[in-house]
Amino acid sequence: MTRPPDPHQTTEANVDADIAARRAAFVQVHESPEFLELRSRYRRFVFPVTGGALAFYFSYVLLAAYAPGFMGEKVVGNITVGLIFGLLQFVMVFGITALYIRYAQRVLDPMSTKIRDELEAGGLR
């Protein structure tokens, strides 16, 4: 692909110095309390939620495979337990999606934007 000519990339030595400086900047940010807070808030949300969602999904799978009688029980008319369980999976997916969006916009985005702006203001390309 074509790359625009870059004044920084005149010599190999220059490039190496650039990379070293940038890596140092990243390490510094990586150890900052703001970044650690962002990472922990992100992971504290997504790990348990993903785990919970998969657990709910596999409980549906196992019930369908090993308790077909229970899943086939009729609740109202021809609506069975299994059908409700299946539809609840849809509800779960939509619900988690909405929750995550809200969480990301309120908690994660302001933090990550601040760190990014500082990094880029510091001359990061």
Binding site: V29, Y57, L83, Q89, I101, S112
Partner: protein, 533 residues
């Protein structure tokens, strides 16, 4: 879910009308593709449309990419024939998106630029990891392509009344050539427009049919389910997978491959690069989840509706078997015209998905193998795009040949195979490289190659390929692996191999973790040169 070789029954509807509607779609979309071609000049445009799509556009395109022939024809058919067991596909395919949304989409957008390998090789020894990622991208895309092309063959039998194997082969070739035209002229931008148009048509068509089915029963869902059940679509789980302990385990295995496969599908991952920021990537996934979820809710009604109104037996006996449930239901509801519209939509579905797969596979070859492995990231001026175009042509020819050979094979089997390969070879390395500091080159290579080899080996020796009633080779039996989907074994093994390779290697890459983690979570530098490292 088998497309039978027998194409003896007469076609339904009017082949001429079906063809006319399809040609109309092609002309309409070609207009957008040719418009998009004006800017399709460099690698960034070819692969990602210049990362200029909005989250909403990309989300619709993702759903267009994801809702393949297996989703539309396959799921509706599986529900119409087996009832509740077919519903697993819908649920697995949807829940899988949570993994993509929460763990993968944004981080991937922030650390990469064109291909999945961008992220995997970020802090590893670049060339071997790119090579491995390109291999698994090509493998997954190939199996996915086969499924779509085989689907095209089966659909043709029903819709255009082309019964001979030769005639169907010609149609598969025409689909392949059309797809190449889209890819070569329009690049990612043109392909994205095709996917957007197709997604809208598909969801509108399925909504119309669902509404119609509901209206016929006075909007009483319970009645539709009851009638469907009487006609053969069981309300209780187990009609397909409840027969023996082995088939139950097979159901569990399939469910694992479905839910973990999506976030490792290269053509889906690549779509995250067509938007400018991680924020837009998130918005894309949200749009995709709503549309895909809505669509799968519709397939539930369509499946039971097809059983109730057409009848499971009649569907199985028709040319195209289970895969013709949706078209047959359309004919039952709206006669020749609705059948023509729905068939054109189904063709468009196949065409758009095949184009997306081809872009991904050719980008992976040109960007990862040619530009980075062979030319160390500095290919001759303009050569990468040329290589990508040539790769697309080769992939197109292979897809046509494979599709002709696979015509008559089981679509769901091939798609589940692609999912199993993606979940085994790609997902462990993606998650490890995003979340595990110690992960290194050997772990990456063992997990990708190990996952690839284990998955494909287990499939070759499974009852899906030989020794069973529905096998690809019915009269021979070399199978020793009992499950037709290998996910239950291959996915944990690939995770284990990634761990084992990492721990047995002395390579420590923790110093690069700082840059990768900061970039992945903040998007610093992502919309500029994310890959100079």
């Amino acid at each position: 879910m088998t497309i039978t070789h027998v194409m003896a029954a007469e076609a339904i509807g009017s082949p001429a009308l079906n063809l006319a509607i399809f040609v109309g779609f092609v002309i309409f979309t070609l207009f957008f593709v040719i418009r998009a071609s004006r800017t399709n000049t460099n690698a960034a445009q070819m692969y990602t449309g210049g990362a200029a799509f909005s989250g909403r556009q990309n989300g619709i395109a993702i759903s267009g990419d994801y809702l393949s022939a297996a989703s539309f024809l396959g799921i509706a058919g599986a529900i119409a024939i087996y009832g509740y067991d077919g519903f697993l596909y819908s649920i697995g395919f949807l829940v899988a998106w949570l993994v993509a949304l929460l763990l993968v989409a944004e981080l991937l957008r922030n650390t990469g630029r064109f291909t999945m390998a961008d992220v995997l090789s970020f802090r590893m020894q670049e060339r071997p990891v790119r090579m491995a990622a390109a291999m698994s991208t090509l493998a997954v895309s190939f199996f996915y392509l086969l499924a779509q092309m085989a689907g095209a063959g089966g659909l043709v039998a029903l819709l255009l009344n082309i019964e001979g194997r030769t005639g169907q082969s010609i149609v598969i070739a025409v689909v392949g050539v059309l797809m190449l035209v889209y890819v070569l002229i329009g690049g990612m931008k043109g392909t994205t427009y095709v996917q957007i148009i197709k997604a809208i048509l598909l969801i509108a068509g399925a909504s119309l049919m669902t509404f119609w089915v509901l209206a016929k029963s006075g909007f009483n869902i319970s009645d539709i389910l009851g009638d469907g059940a009487k006609a053969g679509a069981s309300l209780e789980p187990g009609k397909q997978y409840g027969l023996t302990e082995t088939t139950k385990l097979d159901f569990v295995s399939l469910s694992i491959a479905l839910v973990l496969g999506t976030a490792g599908l290269p053509h889906i991952l690549m779509r995250f690069y067509t938007v400018p920021t991680a924020n837009e990537a998130r918005r894309s996934v949200v749009w995709a989840i709503w549309l895909i979820g809505l669509f799968y809710l519709l397939t539930l009604v369509l499946g039971y509706g097809a059983a109730a109104l057409v009848g499971s037996e009649k569907i199985l006996a028709s040319p195209g078997a289970a895969n013709s449930a949706a078209p047959l239901l359309a004919f039952e509801l709206g006669g020749t015209v609705l059948l023509g519209v729905i068939s054109a939509v189904a063709f468009a579905t196949i065409l758009a998905v095949v184009a997306g797969l081809t872009i991904t596979a050719s980008a992976s070859f040109a960007h990862d193998v040619y530009a980075n492995v062979i030319h160390h990231g500095k290919p001759p001026e303009g050569a990468e795009v040329k290589v990508a175009r040539r790769a697309a042509i080769v992939i197109g020819v292979v897809a046509i040949a494979g599709g002709i050979a696979a015509n008559g094979q089981n679509i769901a089997f091939l798609v589940a195979l692609a999912f199993a390969v993606a979940a085994s070879a790609n997902l462990p390395t993606i998650l490890y490289s995003l979340f595990w500091k110690r992960f290194n080159t050997r772990g990456c290579l063992w997990s990708i190659y190990g996952g690839l080899i284990i998955t494909i080996t287990l499939i070759i020796f499974s009852p899906a390929v030989s020794g069973g009633e529905k096998s690809m080779f019915v009269n021979q039996d070399w199978s020793w692996f009992p499950l037709s989907n290998p996910g239950l074994v291959s996915i944990p093994l690939s995770f284990f191999l990634g761990w084992l390779g990492t721990m047995t290697s002395k390579e420590h890459l923790e110093e690069k973790v700082a840059e990768m983690e900061v970039r992945s979570l903040t998007g610093a530098g992502a919309h500029k040169e994310a890959l100079e490292h």
